[in-house]
């Protein structure tokens, strides 16, 4: 039987969906008017014609609209943390816009993101425990001040890096949101459920315009904002006694974007000696899958599929005692490792075939 609370989540998701559905065409029109479009190139980009940016602004405005909606219709569910997210999110959006229009150096962007992460820490968004490598949880104490900004920046950039194909980032965020919603719902974590309902509504509506062939992109503005909200929602828990397997579940849920970010980081470290640490490349997971001959749609759906599998794994993780969660992390690492080896292997065969031809 549906509870009152279920209707709250459904209506919040619906308002978020409708708001995004309405705002995206408006910002698409504005992007065309202002000529804020992503031009195709022969390097990293895979689209063939100019596509307007600014779809991400619709997420931000929809988020603000939904916050007001919750405060008006469901004041008992309204949390001041939503206001904190809106305030800090505004800075993220301003930075994202600046990056979309006059690309800013990645190092400066990183410093600003870390600063906002520290700000969030002081506003109560923090993790006090992390998964212990040998099982159970570990109190992190003052280290929380370092882990929190790193977590926020990590999630933001992971989502941003995955925004390379039509519908990939929004689809992955939708899958992550649905998974975290299910886990939070099961554990009675209201704030997390609220935020995930908003994200789910936003991203599903955005997919209407962003699925291949996309008519609008979210840009850095959207990707960073989505990552930021996702990161924040996984950091807040007020309930006494509930053991949050801190960050383990979000790590499993976000395994695909994190893996991509990690591999990208390793490549950048290799290039660092040439002073190219902050220079983007065309070797992200989706690029590599495209090189193997998969179509854009096939790449997106295969990464969705992997994310859904990770989502199920995360849900199972949330059901088992915290002392065993490290086993799931090992399993995830093994799966990811096997995936990388398999990808290398297939790429090797593909290269050999090309050389033979």
């Amino acid at each position: 039987m549906m509870k009152n609370q279920d209707w709250v989540y459904i209506s919040i998701g619906a308002v978020s969906f409708i708001a995004t559905l309405l705002f995206v065409p408006i910002f698409r029109w504005l992007a065309l008017k202002l000529n804020v479009v992503d031009m195709p190139d022969q390097k990293r980009k895979v689209h063939k014609k100019p596509i307007p940016y600014l779809g991400g602004l619709a997420f931000y405005i929809s988020f603000l609209v939904v916050c007001c909606f919750i405060e008006w219709f469901y004041p008992q569910y309204f949390d001041d943390n939503l206001v904190v997210i809106a305030v800090v999110g505004t800075f993220i959006v301003l930075m994202g816009l600046l990056d979309d229009l006059i690309s800013i150096p990645a190092s400066k962007k990183l410093i600003f993101e870390l600063f906002l992460g520290i700000l969030l820490y002081y506003w109560g968004f923090k993790t006090v425990t992390i998964a212990h490598p040998l099982g159970g949880v570990l109190e992190v104490g003052w280290l929380a001040m370092i882990i929190t900004p790193l977590w926020i920046v990590g999630v933001m950039n992971a989502i941003n890096f995955s925004d390379g194909l039509d519908g990939l980032a929004s689809g992955q965020v939708a899958i992550c949101s649905a998974t975290i919603f299910a886990i939070s719902y099961y554990n009675g974590q209201i704030f997390s459920c609220l935020v995930m309902s908003i994200l789910l509504g936003c991203t599903l509506a955005f997919l209407v315009y962003n699925s291949h062939p996309a008519s609008v992109f979210m840009g850095d503005t959207g990707a960073l904002f989505l990552g930021f909200v996702l990161g924040c929602a996984t950091l807040v828990e007020k309930k006494k006694g509930v053991t949050i397997v801190a960050l383990t579940i979000p790590i499993v849920v976000l395994a695909v974007p994190f893996l991509d970010t990690f591999l990208s980081f390793l490549r950048r470290v290799q290039r660092a000696s040439r002073g190219e640490f902050f220079v983007p490349d065309r070797d992200h997971l989706h690029h590599r899958l495209l090189k193997l001959g998969l179509s854009q749609r096939q790449v997106v759906f295969s990464l969705y599929y992997f994310s859904i599998c990770m989502g199920f794994l995360a849900f199972i993780t949330s059901l088992i005692p915290s002392k065993y969660t490290f086993l799931v992390l090992i399993l995830v690492l093994m799966l990811v490792g096997m995936g990388i080896i398999l990808l290398h292997f297939i790429e090797g065969i593909s290269r050999k075939n090309e050389e033979q031809l």
């Binding site: 009152n4 202002l34 000529n35 405005i61 603000l64 007001c68 405060e71 301003l94 006494k240």
Partner: protein, 350 residues
């Protein structure tokens, strides 16, 4: 309109973002003020507003509703009530209110002090007169006080109070007392004294159910239940259900309460928390003892909420809202253990 200068584009888009944020902020402030005003728990804000507008009756109505709905009542609320009632209240009633205010102040100070010195004289003269108590009950009261001050009201651990002073303290601190043997308005009466203390969420909190000189509760988390037969009252069953820990215990408690025959007396006390796995059916079973949803939690009427103290004495089959119940809200931001006390006193046999 074609804008080529990227800096102007940035300015336009930043303008849109900042304007949206300002609109959001104005809406948020407006809605927040409105919701603060209409939220049930903010009855003091409303009462002050009505008083400022010269609507004294409405202010009084509002504050009295709040006092009966949200517990514990803060000293600020009692001070306002004293101010508003000063002119149209008899001397005894006003004195009682004043003492409630003084005890409330004491309890608030108790949160920050390990050893509180206070004038015990305020507990001497009483506007509240309880019947003569049997020796067994008197000794139960002393034991009750000892446990309460050892676990919760630690600031009064070294304060020596007489039985009557303890009773006065419990009464002025918001305890609910029925001194004529009646179990609330259920229409049922008892032939013995029952004292119930519940301590809500906090480290080391517990519960006490005193009947015939025995304590049927303890300091383990959960919902303590004592079932008594109709007069002559004898213990029928007693148990504890850790509803916070396990849903299974909630189901067991459902079954336990269903098996209680009509007319039997149910005595309930929460230790730490008993709401985490509360089921709809269990709530219904509690209502069947004459309890009712008297407080508001997140805008919804409930019997009690997360971490609340709850003490109640009811009768299976009694009409909803007729049983004796008391509760105290758990506020994690305050260093105060919620305590709910209720008693039905029969007095000494003649």
């Amino acid at each position: 309109m074609k804008v080529d200068n990227p800096k102007i584009k940035v300015l336009i888009l930043w303008g849109i973002v900042l304007c949206s944020f300002i609109v959001f902020w104005i809406c948020h402030v407006y809605i927040s003020n409105y919701q603060t005003f209409v939220a049930p728990q903010n009855y003091l804000v409303r009462a002050k507003h009505y008083l400022q507008e010269g609507q004294k009756e409405k202010a009084l109505q509002e504050i009295e509703w709040g006092v009966n709905t949200f517990k514990p009542v803060s000293s600020e609320v009692l001070a306002f009530l004293m101010k508003i009632k000063k002119d149209n209240m008899d001397e005894n009633g006003y004195k009682e209110l004043e003492k409630k205010y003084q005890v409330s102040m004491l309890l608030e100070k108790c949160n920050y002090s390990e050893n509180l010195q206070f004038d015990t004289k305020i507990l001497d003269a009483s506007e509240f007169s309880f019947p003569l108590l049997s020796k067994t009950t008197q000794s139960s009261v002393l034991s009750l006080w000892k446990l309460l001050t050892r676990r919760t009201l630690r600031c009064m651990q070294d304060t020596n109070l007489s039985v009557s002073q303890i009773f006065n303290f419990l009464y002025y601190s918001g305890g609910v007392f029925y001194i004529n043997s009646n179990i609330g308005n259920t229409g049922f009466a008892i032939d013995n004294d029952i004292l119930v203390v519940s301590e809500g969420s906090a480290e080391g909190s517990g519960a006490q159910i005193w009947f015939q000189g025995n304590n049927y509760a303890g300091n383990r988390r959960g919902f303590y239940v004592l079932i008594l037969t109709p007069p002559p009252c004898k213990v029928f069953r007693a148990d504890r259900f850790d509803i916070w820990e396990s849903r299974n215990d909630a189901l067991k408690m459902e079954q336990f309460l269903e098996e209680v025959p009509e007319g039997y007396i149910g005595v309930f006390a929460v230790a730490d928390d008993a709401s985490e796995n509360m089921t709809d059916k269990l709530e219904q079973n509690l209502l069947s003892f004459g309890f009712s949803k008297k407080t508001y939690i997140k805008g919804e009427k409930r019997i009690f909420g997360y971490g609340y103290a709850f003490a109640g004495i009811g009768v299976k089959g009694a009409n909803e809202g007729t049983a004796l119940q008391n509760w105290a809200e758990y506020n994690p931001s305050q260093n105060r253990i919620p305590i709910a006390i209720c008693c039905v006193l029969h007095g000494r046999d003649k």
